[in-house]
């Protein structure tokens, strides 16, 4: 008997967990995999940039102001409007020039200093901003800040929304009413005004932006998590856990949470995209990241005045980075949802 059992145990194929099955489905999704690759490339870039290996010197003024991108070519030398040198010898003014006696002395002193003419680049891969800083390096550094802000704020919002939603959905009653009241207060104020109010109180800084977005953005996920918990709290498997004596915390976070995690995960990614865009708006309005740092939002804010002069490359760089990341991330989220919840597409 035991031999038979051992054989059965050995021959049983490795069991496929819920997460592994989701990964297998994601692997079959071509768009999803491509987006995953794009997001992974961005992630690698962000890590390198955070370590200072990439775009560490973004603040250096390496090019001429508003140097165009390399593929456009250097700007044609502008007509300076100087008058041609007059023919004939210069008129000797030594008699009337009061400074004339000191020219020799100044020339002698000037030879004691050495001046180096910094060779500013005429073109840069993605051009330069009005101070001559490399736009590509700025965009990479801006990606780091923007994505960091987006992800951190989404994590804060998800944490708040999940915990409050779980409490409200699981317990209901008075606690649920109180949390519903809080939710209603938050949603009754126009979102952007709430953000301004928080920003005015907390001042400028990356931490503030994360906190502001997190504190104002938890309401959507709260509502979804609450609904899921209400649904699951009366399911038989949770009742069964109660019958074996599992505590409320264990039922909430050990039993129900893994079963609603796909909702939370998808919301987390949707929030990330939303918060990246919100940070751009905040920085554009001057409430976002401090002036000594760069994000996609500050780049776009600068681009506004540059555009009037025809210097489009900063706008293009920021838009290109943001659009590709946000699009890839959104499509990945869609693929993730399909992979985690195959019933949605009716495949299985």
């Amino acid at each position: 008997m035991s031999a038979v059992l051992a054989e059965a145990t050995a021959s049983a194929p490795a069991s496929e967990g819920v997460w592994r099955a989701a990964w297998r489905r994601l692997c079959n999704d071509r768009v999803g995999m491509f987006c995953l690759a794009v997001v992974a490339a961005f992630a690698a870039m962000i890590v390198l940039s955070a370590l200072g290996l990439l775009a560490g010197h973004w603040q250096r003024e390496v090019g001429v102001p508003n140097a165009p991108p390399s593929f456009v070519g250097p700007r044609a030398a502008e007509a300076t409007g100087t008058v041609d040198a007059p023919k004939g010898p210069n008129v000797d003014l030594s008699d009337v020039d009061p400074l004339a006696p000191r020219y020799k002395e100044w020339d002698a002193r000037a030879t004691q200093f050495r001046s180096v003419e910094i060779q500013k680049l005429q073109t840069l891969p993605m051009g330069a901003d009005r101070m001559g800083r490399d736009v590509l390096a700025k965009a990479i550094k801006g990606t780091e800040i923007s994505v960091f802000v987006g992800v951190m704020a989404a994590l804060v919002a998800t944490l708040i929304g999940t915990v409050l939603g779980a409490l409200a959905g699981f317990f209901g009653g008075r606690a649920g009413d109180l949390l519903e009241w809080l939710y209603n207060v938050f949603t009754s104020i126009p979102g952007i005004l709430l953000i301004f109010a928080f920003a005015a109180v907390f001042g400028r800084g990356i931490g503030t932006v994360v906190l502001i977005l997190g504190l104002t953005g938890w309401t959507g996920i709260y509502r979804l998590v609450r609904a899921e918990f209400m649904k699951h709290a009366v399911r038989d498997y949770v009742r069964a856990a109660q019958a074996i004596g599992a505590s409320a915390a264990s039922r909430m976070f050990r039993h129900i949470l893994p079963n609603v995690s796909h909702v939370i995960l998808v919301q987390l990614s949707i929030l990330t995209v939303g918060f990246i865009k919100a940070e751009v708006i905040l920085s554009y309005l001057g409430l976002g990241v401090p002036v000594d740092q760069v994000s996609w939002g500050t780049m776009l804010a600068e681009a506004q005045s540059e555009l009037l002069l025809g210097h489009w490359w900063q706008l293009a760089a920021a838009t290109l980075f943001m659009a590709s990341f946000v699009t890839a991330f959104s499509l990945l989220t869609d693929a993730l949802r399909d992979a985690l919840d195959p019933k949605l597409r009716g495949l299985e």
Partner: protein, 569 residues
């Protein structure tokens, strides 16, 4: 025999399941390999399609009217009055659906549109297929409701689906199907979601309507008992293939196929000597009518009382108006005693308070009044730690095995968790050992330890749920419709398992069910509940042989008993 109305020839249906590593996956629902299924539906005849879940009976029926999901592939021929339904275009099929072939589905609540009044929904087919004027259509709709036996038909035309009971909703569905006087009515498990008494009414209604309109009926069901009452012809399916087909008398009196014989034998009967064990499908079944091998072991009538319930009541408060509250008495005044190793059956229709009573016993609901005494201790006044200890001694198995196991836990985690909570077993290894031993005891391979619930069938999951309860070595097990969601053959296996476990461990059961046959098989004493109250309480044999209450008699009369040979003079 009358002319053939519909002929299914060599039908095969498969579902595309996406690609895995570039290889297209297909799941065969009907037919296996090159073998398809074939059967005929004659005119003016009831043909029943019987089989367990996954046998392909519903897919077969839905492929007739092409109501299958988009990923289905059909092959073979379905001839309806000379046309091959697999090759007609969408417009022709639409014209046939409802007009010539109508369908009634299992769940009437989800088949009716909840935001439209019943009358509007009834008029729709009259409008689209018969081009009736609104006023005529409404008159016809009323006539249809009269025909399906709806009380107060005129008023019901303006009723919304939620205002009707389950049986009335199913009557509306049948009325809709009848609207254009179809030649073929496909009824896909039309009574499965209904109580036995309502089921009886619907079956009688279908039989009358079939006779009156001279239509054919394709009746799909998993229960041979129901089928025997309504069908003229029976087709038995298993694993996507037809196992046996023939006239109903032949199927019931002289079944040729071993599977049919086993299906007939594995259902607990209401008459005859109660068997000690039920037959199981894959056991070789010798011949029909062989007497049960062994008698059931006699139970100790003086075993100590383990669970005593005194005037237990549970009320829910419904909000009414702005501040008002109304008491809804779900359970009231239940008294019983349960002895160690005995089984108390609780029967009643849906809404009779059976399940609420079970949940209240475990204090998953707080009782409003009354006492529950476990081994002499009142469960009402326990502190937190005593309550936790009590949880160990009384456990519950739920109806739906697909919902009662946490899908994100492996079987091992599911079994180890209760032991960890109650500190049974010194270490994780010891707990795992116990869990494996229990899996073996409930008839599962201990190798399934690391698997997830979605890999198991309903019966296997119910075994896991039973094993989870047994980890705590309970003295009382509440089985809330524990076998109702299972196929008859699996039901027989689980019932046998429960009986073996009771004999071995001396657990007392509170067995809640709507199925009187099952209750008779497993119970020593039976409570009959109606509207939250116990109307009758007696030993299982006594209640079936001589019910004293009208309600019990009605319940008993409604149980489908299959085909009965016409009485010879």
């Amino acid at each position: 025999m009358s002319a053939t109305l519909l002929s299914i020839q060599d039908l095969r249906v498969a579902f595309r399941m996406g690609k895995v590593n570039g290889v297209a996956q297909r799941a065969e629902a009907v037919g296996r390999g090159a073998a398809g299924i074939s059967f005929d539906i004659p005119e003016n005849c009831s043909t029943a399609l019987v089989g367990e879940s996954g046998s392909g009976k519903s897919v077969t029926a839905m492929s007739i009217v092409n109501l299958l999901p988009d990923n289905a592939e059909r092959a073979g021929r379905i001839l309806y009055r000379g046309d091959d339904l697999l090759r007609v275009d969408a417009a022709q099929m639409r014209a046939l659906r409802g007009r010539e072939i109508a369908c009634v589905f299992q769940d009437p609540m989800s088949s009716l549109n909840p935001v439209l009044p019943v009358g509007r929904q009834l008029c729709e087919p009259l409008h689209t297929h018969l081009k009736m004027k609104p006023r005529h259509a409404l008159e016809r709709a009323e006539a249809l409701l009269v025909e399906v036996g709806m009380p107060e038909p005129k008023r019901r035309l303006d009723a919304y689906p939620h205002e009707l009971s389950g049986g009335q909703q199913q009557r509306v569905m049948i009325a809709m199907a009848l609207a254009c006087e179809p030649r073929l009515l496909i009824a896909d498990e039309p009574t499965t979601a209904l109580d036995v008494t309502i089921q009886r009414q619907i079956l009688e209604l279908l039989a009358t309507l079939k006779a009156r309109h001279r239509m054919s009926l394709l009746f799909i069901n998993h229960d041979l008992g129901v089928v025997g009452e309504i069908a003229d012809q029976v087709v038995v399916m298993r694993h996507g293939l037809v196992r046996e087909q023939g006239p109903v008398a032949q199927i019931f009196s002289a079944p040729r196929d071993a599977y049919t014989r086993a299906l007939l034998a594995c259902r607990p009967a209401l008459s005859g000597p109660p068997p000690a064990r039920l037959r199981v499908i894959d056991e070789p079944v010798a011949a029909p009518g062989t007497p049960a091998a062994a008698a059931r072991p006699v139970k100790d009538a003086d075993a100590p009382v383990i669970l005593e319930v005194r005037s237990l009541a549970k009320s829910f408060w419904l909000r009414q108006g702005l501040f008002g509250k109304r008491e809804f008495k779900a359970v009231q005044g239940v008294n019983f005693q349960l002895r160690r190793g005995h089984t108390l059956g609780v029967v009643g229709e849906s809404g009779s308070g059976k399940t609420t009573m079970g949940l209240t016993l475990l204090r998953l609901h707080e009782p409003t009044r009354g006492e529950v005494l476990l081994d002499g201790r009142n469960l009402g006044n326990l502190d937190a730690s005593e309550r936790q200890a009590m949880r160990r001694r009384i456990q519950i198995v739920f109806q739906n095995p697909y919902a009662s196991l946490n899908p994100r836990f492996t079987i091992g985690q599911t079994l180890v968790e209760p032991m960890a909570i109650h500190g049974i077993g010194a270490s994780l290894t010891e707990r795992e050992q116990r869990a494996r031993a229990l899996l073996h005891k409930v008839g599962l391979d201990p190798g399934v330890f690391a698997r997830y619930p979605h890999e198991f069938s309903g019966g296997q999951r119910q075994r896991v749920a039973i094993a989870r309860c047994l980890t705590l070595q309970p003295e009382v097990l509440v089985l809330d419709e524990a076998v109702s969601a299972l196929d008859v053959s699996v039901q027989a296996q689980v019932l046998n398992l429960l009986r073996d476990l009771q004999d071995e461990l001396g657990v007392a059961y509170v067995f809640i069910s709507h199925d009187l046959g099952v209750v008779r098989f497993i119970s020593d004493e039976v409570l009959v509940m109606k509207d939250g109250e116990v109307v009758e309480q007696a030993s299982a044999e006594a209640i079936l042989a001589a019910p004293s209450q009208d309600y019990t008699r009605r319940l008993l009369a409604a149980v489908p008993r299959g085909w009965r040979a016409p009485v010879r003079p």
